[in-house]
């Protein structure tokens, strides 16, 4: 089977400092990959390199595009990369403010991606927005409210709806449950899990939280100091960690 995403030898430096280095993995269609590691270990750097937000200094990221087959997203033209990121990809930010337009209504936020790819029928856009708000458990009656009037959990759900409305195949998430209350987190995780299964999404999820990984990720990568020190099936890594650092991490001795 062709991997959906094939990552080879990715490195990103900030001057002399290493962001991440020597990262290799394949993600297959329908798979969810978790990335864990302590603060500063390079998780966000890696994710941003994969999603085309940062240009890596080395390596390739090959994506199996629906229309053309595998393409290197590092060397492709920015216009093409942007097109991918509003059609086949999605990116959920930790802080909903980074992923939402705070001055635009909830319906407009969800509708933006539809309009960006050419939807020009107001009634249909609104219907699809309404439908998606429902799927992330936001009442229809809030469709014309701005996200600034929403709670943190609602904002995060809105961000998810806005990202998934165009039916992407690959979702990048950076700490999607970070900064939320524990009970709100649980509900959001449940929702995410349902959507991932239902839509057959592939995803790469960066998180501090091993519970998130247990619930969502098929496979797991552990990062430290910019390197991937261990990767494998989630249950294997968590139940039988090989690297000493992972053993500490799993035994909760380390607060990540």
């Amino acid at each position: 089977m062709t991997p959906l995403l094939s990552v080879k030898n990715i490195e990103k430096r900030y001057g002399a400092r290493i962001g991440c280095t020597g990262v290799n993995f394949d993600l297959f269609p329908g798979e969810v990959m978790g990335i864990v590691g302590e603060s500063g270990s390079g998780k966000s750097t890696l994710l941003n390199c994969l999603a085309g937000h940062l240009a890596p200094d080395q390596g390739s990221v090959t994506y199996d595009r629906t229309s053309t087959g595998p393409v290197d997203t590092v060397t492709m033209a920015e216009a093409e990369r942007r097109m991918l990121s509003r059609t086949e990809w999605a990116f959920v930010h930790q802080n909903p403010r980074d992923g939402l337009r705070m001055g635009v209504s909830a319906g407009g936020n969800v509708g933006e991606r539809l309009m960006a790819v050419g939807a020009r029928h107001y009634g249909n856009i609104r219907e699809t927005s309404t439908d998606w708000l429902g799927r992330v458990e936001i009442a229809d009656s809030r469709i014309d409210d701005r996200p600034s009037a929403f709670s943190g959990g609602m904002q995060q759900r809105l961000q998810i709806a806005r990202n998934l409305v165009t039916g992407p195949r690959l979702v990048f998430m950076d700490e999607p449950t970070g900064g939320l209350d524990v009970s709100v987190q649980a509900r959001l995780l449940d929702l995410l899990r349902g959507l991932v299964r239902e839509m057959g999404l592939s995803a790469i999820i960066v998180t501090h939280d091993l519970a998130v990984v247990r619930l969502l990720a098929d496979r797991l990568m552990v990062m430290k100091d910019g390197n991937v020190i261990e990767q494998g099936l989630t249950d294997q890594v968590l139940d039988d960690p090989q690297a000493a650092y992972t053993q500490l991490l799993v035994s909760s001795v380390l607060q990540v």
């Binding site: 216009a79 635009v104 407009g108 933006e112 309009m115 107001y122």
Partner: protein, 289 residues
């Protein structure tokens, strides 16, 4: 200082502006940066348009200036006088006689012809500005034709007001490529932008020039189920009876009596001169008697 260079600006500055104009004409709807000069008038007075006119005028030209359709506002008169003095060009209030027309907020009702140039004064050239304040980002959006946000604005209008509420500076798509701000003309004028004349846009404070060559495709943005509506007035002009022109509401006495008259004063007078008289109208000779 009384010895100006022709049309006030020095030749080097005019060449720089002409280069920007040529580039703008080559890429319709694309905003070309230019080094805007200080002009002997405040920015709000259309210094962008004045610089474009200065770089475009030749001694043979006939120059007309309108401000919201009228030739006789302070603003229009002073710009006209400025070029009478600095370029010694002929001026006219007749649309069909003018070779260069500088305008603020209107397109003349009389259809413009090949060989004529319409120069717009532009306050804010960037149509995405109110949606995305970062200049680097709006430039990238234009470069990548990333215009979803433009329709988000129209979507928000409909969601809030039931219809697209934008009445001025209604955004257009130029030649299927660039989204452009037509300057604060009423949307009534948008359909006229597909015309035989050359259209040049100058934004002084923002230092941008853009242009439409003759017969460029200009489409007002809309939705299939909320199509663009230039919204014609319900009344004819009270003075000349025109039913196809853009009207201003005028209060005629201190009882608040209203009347609707052409905003294009030349058009209205020309019609009355040829015998088209509205309910409140008189022949222009009598008006001026």
């Amino acid at each position: 200082m009384s010895d100006y260079n022709f049309a006030y600006l020095d030749e080097q500055t005019k060449r720089m502006i002409r280069r920007a104009l040529l580039k703008a004409l080559a890429i319709p709807g694309y905003q070309v940066p230019f080094a805007s000069r200080e002009m002997p008038m405040p920015y709000g007075w259309g210094t962008g348009g004045v610089q474009v006119s200065a770089a475009t005028l030749t001694p043979e030209d006939t120059f007309k200036v309108i401000d919201q359709g009228a030739d006789d506002t302070t603003n229009a008169i002073s710009i006209r006088k400025f070029f009478e003095k600095t370029a010694n060009v002929g001026t006219s209030e007749k649309t069909e006689e003018a070779t260069i027309i500088q305008t603020r907020h209107r397109i003349p009702e009389t259809e413009l012809q090949e060989g004529q140039i319409l120069v717009y004064q532009v306050p804010i050239p960037e149509p995405l500005r109110f949606l995305e304040p970062r200049e680097t980002e709006t430039r990238r959006m234009h470069a990548l034709e990333d215009y979803g946000l433009m329709h988000v604005k129209l979507y928000e209008d409909i969601a809030r007001h039931g219809a697209i509420a934008t009445a001025y500076a209604y955004p257009v798509m130029v030649q299927d490529r660039y989204v452009m701000d037509p300057s604060p003309i009423p949307k009534f004028d948008n359909p006229k932008m597909e015309m035989a004349a050359i259209q040049l846009f100058g934004a002084g404070r923002e230092q941008r020039i853009y242009a439409l060559p003759p017969y460029t495709k200009v489409v007002s943005l809309d939705f299939e189920d909320h199509p663009f509506d230039p919204s014609k007035a319900e009344h004819p002009c009270a003075l000349c009876g025109a039913e196809d022109s853009y009207l201003d509401e005028v209060i005629t006495d201190d009882q608040g009596t209203r009347m609707y008259v052409c905003s294009d004063t030349d058009y209205c007078e020309s019609r009355r001169a040829t015998g088209h008289i509205g309910t409140e109208g008189t022949q222009p000779e009598e008006v001026f008697a």
